[in-house]
């Protein structure tokens, strides 16, 4: 079950809900991206 609040507009009780909400927001607000990456990418994060 999801609920809303004033600050972040969405707060979920499950990660799956959260992921779905985020995917929807990306689709609504950002240009469409290719469905898949053409190659793997380096791991995230920096050592320094």
């Amino acid at each position: 079950m999801s609920k809303t609040d004033k600050t972040i507009s969405f707060k979920s009780d499950s990660i799956a809900d959260f992921r779905q909400h985020l995917a929807t927001r990306i689709e609504e607000k950002l240009p469409q991206a290719p469905a898949k990456l053409t190659a793997p990418h380096p791991k995230s994060g920096k050592g320094i």
């Binding site: 990660i15 791991k43 920096k46 050592g47």
Partner: protein, 520 residues
């Protein structure tokens, strides 16, 4: 190496995706040598990677950036990664080019796991003993300092200490560096002193000369910033930090400057720490002490660093490592550089502060040689951004445009999931970046993490007994408006995944090895 001096070692695990040396041990050498203390410096990070056959040359990085798409940028990256992977295959350890060394069997965040790791052989033992023997063959130092800057160096640093002992070294071994300072007494467990003699926190410039001078442990109690074990109990000596009048110049003599990866540069320093130092999430400047800022160096000392690099090593590219370039100091240095007869190029970190936008500043910085700035934007100017307490008031678009117009590239740091900010802030930030993509050269997205030595509203630290050697605390939200740690991880994963599809060069480490210094 002169016998009876100090040897300074960068243990494996620091990033390999860098064109220049870690500045910490060079600053120590710059403090010790003028006192007549012989110093040798070795970078076992770059040397061990080289022994494993891993490297990325400037030519390789430039070729990959000719048409910087994911496939071309990946080519030298994964070739080097595979070279690091091969010697560790069959073990539980891994060595990432950027993140350093880790072991799924022995979590370096856990003191008990690190203790257990030291009871076993490691895949690094053989090569580290080879490097230790080479070091000792050149002359037995009296003191060896191991600089531990990032978590990925914890296990290799202790394996290095073990290799030095196994190779016959009987002098003093000291652990120091940013991470050791941030962990402080949490690291000072009795068993650790079976492997090392002391932890040197804050600036080693103050403790190492005395440690070299005082052979008898009974005299150690007056050495500042030292944590040690006297055989009966733990001793935590008094603290003292450097005063600006005590700042010395980094001395790179002896480091393998031709072996760093990609486009080569020297590291340099204008300020010790962050002149602002009030961002509520940030503990990076903590290890400078005194609230994270010791002060600015003199313009003369900064110019001397640059001229030394040109005259001694024929290097004219520099990376200023302070957390934020001080605008008025940069202005003075830029004026002096334009009046001098040598040309340099440099990059550094910066804040979106109004003095950057004062008349003529950005143009002056560009003419002095500024090529790229790394800006802590964190979030677009969303409704909730003020809770980060950054107090940076320059307009993002105006400042990015001003930099771009003068040929200075911009890297933008983003941080998502700070308590009280959420999905819409993060998406709006990516939207801002894409709408200004012509002004942005590269970009990072980091998740908010609850750093030790910070205080953040809206969350509560959850102590975890197996992560006492971590500078990232587990936490739980205290309100409905705060994302959980899992949600923050998903937020970053998804938005970074999106950017890998639409702007891979922004995120790719190989692109960054070239971009400050070339038209890519």
């Amino acid at each position: 190496m002169h016998a009876d001096g100090v040897a300074l070692i960068v243990p494996p695990g620091w990033t390999l995706i860098t064109g220049g040396p870690q500045i910490g041990i060079a600053l120590l050498a710059g403090a010790l040598r003028p006192k007549g203390i012989p110093v040798s410096m070795v970078d076992w990070n770059i040397e061990l990677a080289g022994l494993f056959g891993a490297s990325i040359s400037e030519d390789q990085a430039r070729a990959a950036c000719a048409h910087p798409v994911l496939e071309s940028l990946n080519q030298p990256y994964f070739q080097a990664q595979q070279a690091l992977d091969a010697p560790l295959s069959g073990s539980s350890a891994s060595w990432d080019l950027q993140l350093g060394y880790s072991d799924r069997q022995f979590d370096h965040r856990s003191a008990s796991a690190v203790f257990a790791a030291l009871q076993e052989r490691s895949a690094l033992d053989g090569p580290l003993q080879t490097l230790a023997a080479e070091l000792l063959n050149e002359g037995h130092p009296r003191v060896i300092g191991l600089s531990v800057t990032v978590p990925g160096q914890i296990l290799p640093a202790l394996y290095a200490a073990r290799a030095l002992r196994a190779t016959g070294f009987e002098g003093r071994i000291v652990l120091g560096g940013n991470l050791v300072t941030r962990l402080g007494q949490a690291m000072a467990l009795p068993w650790l002193f079976d492997w090392v003699d002391a932890l040197a926190i804050w600036q080693g410039e103050l403790s190492l000369p005395l440690l070299w001078e005082k052979a008898d442990r009974r005299d150690w109690q007056d050495i500042p910033n030292l944590i040690w074990h006297d055989g009966h109990e733990l001793r935590v000596n008094h603290s003292r930090q450097l005063e600006p009048a005590e700042f010395t110049l980094p001395d790179f003599q002896g480091l393998p400057l031709d072996r760093y990866w990609g486009s080569r540069f020297l590291t340099s320093i204008g300020s010790r720490g962050c002149y602002y130092g009030k961002c509520s999430f940030c503990s990076i400047p903590y290890s400078w002490g005194k609230g994270g800022f010791l002060g600015n160096d003199s313009v003369g000392n900064i110019l001397q660093q640059l001229t030394n690099g040109v005259s001694q090593f024929h290097v004219n590219r520099y990376k200023f490592i302070e957390e934020a370039l001080h605008p008025s100091l940069l202005s003075a240095v830029s004026t002096s550089l334009q009046q001098s007869d040598f040309a340099v190029e440099f990059e550094g970190y910066a804040r979106f502060d109004r003095p950057w936008m004062e008349a003529g500043n950005v143009r002056s910085f560009a003419r002095a040689g500024l090529k790229k700035v790394y800006l802590g934007m964190e979030l677009a100017r969303t409704r909730t951004r003020n809770i980060l307490n950054k107090s940076d008031t320059a307009d993002f678009e105006d400042m990015l445009s001003a930099l771009h117009d003068e040929g200075i590239k911009s890297h933008v740091f983003c941080m998502f999931g700070y308590p009280g900010t959420g999905v819409d802030d993060a998406v709006e930030t990516i939207d801002f970046a894409l709408r200004h993509e012509h002004l942005i050269d590269s970009l990072d997205i980091f998740p908010f993490y609850y750093a030790t030595h910070t205080s953040v509203l809206g969350i509560r630290a959850v102590p975890h007994q197996d992560t006492e050697w971590s500078v990232e605390q587990s936490y739980e939200p205290l309100g409905e408006d705060v994302l959980s740690m899992n949600e923050v991880a998903v937020l970053v994963e998804e938005l970074e995944g999106y950017l890998w599809k639409v702007k891979p060069a922004w995120l790719h480490p190989v692109y960054r090895m070239v971009s400050p210094w070339a038209a890519v």
